[in-house]
């Protein structure tokens, strides 16, 4: 291989000069034409900043302090703004994480796709139109003629990301930077979009940098991987080798954070703790009503972890909120310990105390004006017989249980990391020793290693305290690790349910198989790493 590299980053240092901190510290990388590399790291690792520096889109507070970036045979530092503008789009394409905000909502799709072509190519209007229609068809848009006249809000997140890919690939850039391109999407859609991206890149011979926190995904679509931690590249190597035989401790930590199946547990058959019968709910009323749940039956037995899985719009969160008592269904019954749950019934106080919830976003589930102590103590207010000293002791006890300890009691939520916040949220849910905990995407917003810790904590606490748990998630990898039983929902109905091993090893519904195709099976490899195998759709 004697061809000059497409992109060379040499000992790049990026930092905020105002506060003398470095976000990227001496990272080097070379990328040849047509090569695909992945950059893996957790939030704050500097992976996005590195690529923003390549394309010259650093935020104002961050500047280049050392090193160089060369694209083709030019130093990016020497380029005039005008030349840089010509390079963006045509030379280097960029796909962002948020398909909801990266398209302009006020312009039609056709207009937005044409913009780049008009700027960077000599095509005439008919040529541009033909190219756009062909590309839209290529990315799997069913009716390209209608799509060019449509506005972004008429498409789902996955479709928008396809359109985004179309707009970038239309210009046939030599390098494509995809920054967490599918993180905001459902697992199934994620897989489809990545397959498309991969196929297109292969077709056009485009070099690609795939930035992600998802090790498994990067492994599937790249030849080489860079692992970044706190602004430094800790390990670089061919993808398959790096997975099987990681050398750096941090890489091993990331790999071990990938969820894997725990041994199956036997759950003693018992009368169900909570039951849902013929649950129906529609949002809106009259002719505009949108049915979300079409008659769901579900039992949760004491001491078991039931996973409720499905894509967005499947109704899993709605069902969880009904069981938590946050939503009133149109039809159907919810019983708790055999008693119908009703605000006026005598059993309501018992249900309220024993059915608690952990939310997805630890940044919005804690009152920013309250200290950790007050947050955890809040549910105890309803334990009328409890003295204030007993309450304080209980708060300290439950904080220790979630691994925080009493020294965190006087902090405010903003003084905690995401993982610590989620621990506080779990402590609040467990403060009254509930029998049922509903965890709605409780680990989805967390970084890889933190996610693994919180999952471990949840299953430990469940083991010790024996509460039942309704674990709502779109992430089957996580579900495989933690669940005893799996319930698959699709468009408001239960598609399939069974023990975890049944669902993961012998799925009967095609929707379940499709979901499963988005999660790899992991087996330990000889070199201390892992082997990834993807299931067929």
């Amino acid at each position: 291989m004697n061809t000059p590299p497409l992109l060379t980053v040499d000992r790049l240092v990026l930092g905020a000069t105002a506060v003398a901190t470095q976000v990227v510290n001496g990272v080097s990388l070379t990328l040849r034409r047509g090569e695909r590399i992945g950059i893996v790291g957790e939030s704050g690792s500097g992976k996005s900043m590195l690529m923003r520096a390549v394309i010259g889109l650093l935020p104002p507070a961050i500047s280049k302090l050392g090193g160089s970036v060369r694209f083709e045979d030019r130093d990016m530092g020497d380029l005039q703004p005008e030349e840089l503008r010509k390079l963006r789009g045509k030379g280097i394409g960029l796909i962002f994480q948020e398909p909801m905000t990266s398209l302009n909502p006020a312009l039609t799709i056709g207009h937005q796709l044409e913009e780049g072509l008009a700027l960077h190519t000599a095509m005439d209007a008919t040529g541009r139109r033909d190219a756009i229609l062909a590309m839209l068809r290529r990315v799997g848009i069913a009716d390209p003629d209608a799509a060019v006249r449509a506005f972004p809000h008429e498409f789902s997140g996955g479709m928008r990301q396809r359109i985004m890919i179309a707009s970038v690939m239309l210009l046939e850039p030599a390098l494509l930077i995809a920054d967490e391109p599918t993180t905001a999407l459902d697992a199934v859609v994620q897989r489809e979009v990545l397959e498309l991206l991969h196929a297109l890149v292969e077709e056009k011979g485009t070099a690609m940098v795939l930035i992600s926190h998802d090790m498994a995904m990067v492994a599937q679509y790249t030849d080489r991987v860079l692992v970044m931690q706190k602004g430094v590249c800790v390990e670089e190597g061919a993808t398959s080798e790096l997975l099987r035989a990681p050398r750096h401790e941090y890489t091993r930590k990331l790999l071990s954070a990938l969820p894997r199946r725990a041994p199956a547990r036997a759950i003693a058959p018992n009368a169900p703790l909570a039951s849902v019968r013929n649950m129906k709910l529609a949002y809106g009323s009259g002719s505009s009503a949108k049915a979300v749940l079409h008659g769901i039956d579900l039992d949760i037995h004491p001491g078991e972890i039931v996973a409720l899985v499905g894509g967005s719009g499947s109704g899993k969160t709605t069902l969880g909120r009904i069981i938590a008592g946050l939503l009133q269904p149109n039809e159907g019954t919810l019983t708790f310990r055999g008693q119908a749950v009703n605000r006026k019934s005598g059993g309501y106080a018992d249900y309220r105390a024993n059915c608690q919830m952990v939310f997805q976003d630890p940044y919005s589930s804690l009152d920013p004006r309250m200290r950790v102590r007050e947050i955890v103590a809040a549910p105890l207010r309803h334990e009328k017989s409890m003295h204030s000293t007993a309450r304080r002791e209980r708060v300290n006890e439950v904080l220790s249980e979630v691994g925080l300890g009493p020294q965190f009691a006087d902090r405010f939520p903003h003084q905690l990391s995401g993982g610590q916040r989620q621990r506080v949220a779990i402590a609040r849910a467990l403060a009254r020793r509930p029998d049922l905990v509903i965890a709605d995407e409780a680990v989805s917003a967390l970084d890889m290693t933190v996610k693994a810790q919180i999952l471990k904590l949840l299953s430990q606490l469940q083991e010790q305290q024996g509460f039942a748990c309704l674990f709502i998630s779109h992430d089957l990898g996580v579900v495989e690790q933690i669940a005893d039983r799996v319930v698959v929902m699709h468009r408001g109905v239960i598609e399939e349910q069974g023990s975890r091993d049944e669902i993961f090893d012998r799925p009967t519904s095609s929707y379940t198989r499709k979901l499963l195709s988005a999660v790899p099976m992991l087996t330990p490899a000889d070199g201390g790493g892992i082997d990834l195998v993807w299931r067929a759709a």
């Binding site: 938590a324 919830m357 589930s365 004006r369 809040a378 309803h382 609040r428 009254r432």
Partner: protein, 272 residues
């Protein structure tokens, strides 16, 4: 202990001076603020009359000191009325939603459609042009802006998961509103009320200017400003000194409001 910010110090100084002047002014002034002295008519600032004398020879400094308490009380009471009414309406409207919300929003929007001063004029015609009339009229006129801000904040807070968490732990709606929602409205409310203090000072002046303020001979900064208008050419200080007082107090209150908002924000607390 944290050191005070520059905002807090300057703002505190101005507002402190205002409060002290108002307190002293209500018990002692250099001259009798009502006493006419035709010899000193339109006298410029001198050692005898530090800030000059008005068209009836009344001492401007004495009248400003007495006016400080009148203006201060009118503004404070107005802001208090608007804040209490507006917060109550806004939070009920935002938290309950549905029909209650629709009716309250319609009423608020209708009131907002009038210029505040016009609404106050109309209300003054009902309540009568005296101190209480002004306070009530301005208080009601400013209620919709508070209600609107509070409703918006409550609406966005209501969607946050910590509100669900409060409901799940068994808290009643009222408790959730008082314990979790209203405290989180403090930051936008502080900003609004401090600037509202300024508006009411000016509105009171404007009403006095139109002859509907606190009736003469009792001085307020507003009616002093109004009375100075015909004499601008001969005796500019008659307008300058009350105007300066209003500006300084407004500046002070706004600075203090900013400092207060930072102080009340938990993100600013506990930071080393």
């Amino acid at each position: 202990m944290k050191t005070l910010s520059a905002n807090a110090m300057v703002g505190g100084l101005f507002v402190g001076a205002f409060v002290i002047a108002a307190c002293i002014g209500s018990v002692w002034t250099p001259y009798d603020p009502m006493a006419l002295d035709m010899k000193a008519r339109l006298a410029g600032p001198s050692t005898q009359h530090l800030l000059g004398a008005d068209e009836f020879g009344r001492d401007v400094l004495s009248r400003l000191m007495l006016g400080a308490s009148a203006s201060g009380i009118v503004s404070l009471a107005t802001v208090a009325i608007a804040t209490v009414l507006g917060t109550a309406l806004g939070s009920i409207s935002g938290y309950l939603g549905g029909w209650t919300d629709r009716v309250l929003v319609a009423v608020t929007n209708a009131l907002l459609a009038f210029p505040g001063i016009l609404l106050a004029l109309g209300l003054l015609a009902i309540f009568g042009a005296n101190k209480y009339g002004i306070v009530l009229a301005l208080g009601i006129a400013y209620t919709p802006s508070v209600a609107r801000i509070v409703r918006g904040t409550v609406l966005s807070l209501r969607e946050r998961e910590f509100i669900d968490a409060s409901r799940i732990s068994g808290d009643s709606g009222l408790y959730t509103l008082l314990r979790h929602i209203l405290p989180n409205c403090i930051a936008p409310l502080t900003v609004l009320t401090t600037s509202m203090f300024g508006w009411t000072l000016l509105s009171e002046s404007a009403l006095s200017f139109l002859g509907l303020g606190v009736p003469p001979p009792a001085p307020t900064w507003g009616n002093m400003l109004a009375a100075a208008r015909p004499y601008l050419a001969q005796a500019a200080w008659l307008a300058i000194f009350p105007g300066l007082c209003i500006s300084i107090v407004l500046l002070g209150i706004n600075l203090l409001g900013d400092a207060l908002r930072d102080r009340l924000d938990p993100k600013m607390r506990g930071m080393q």
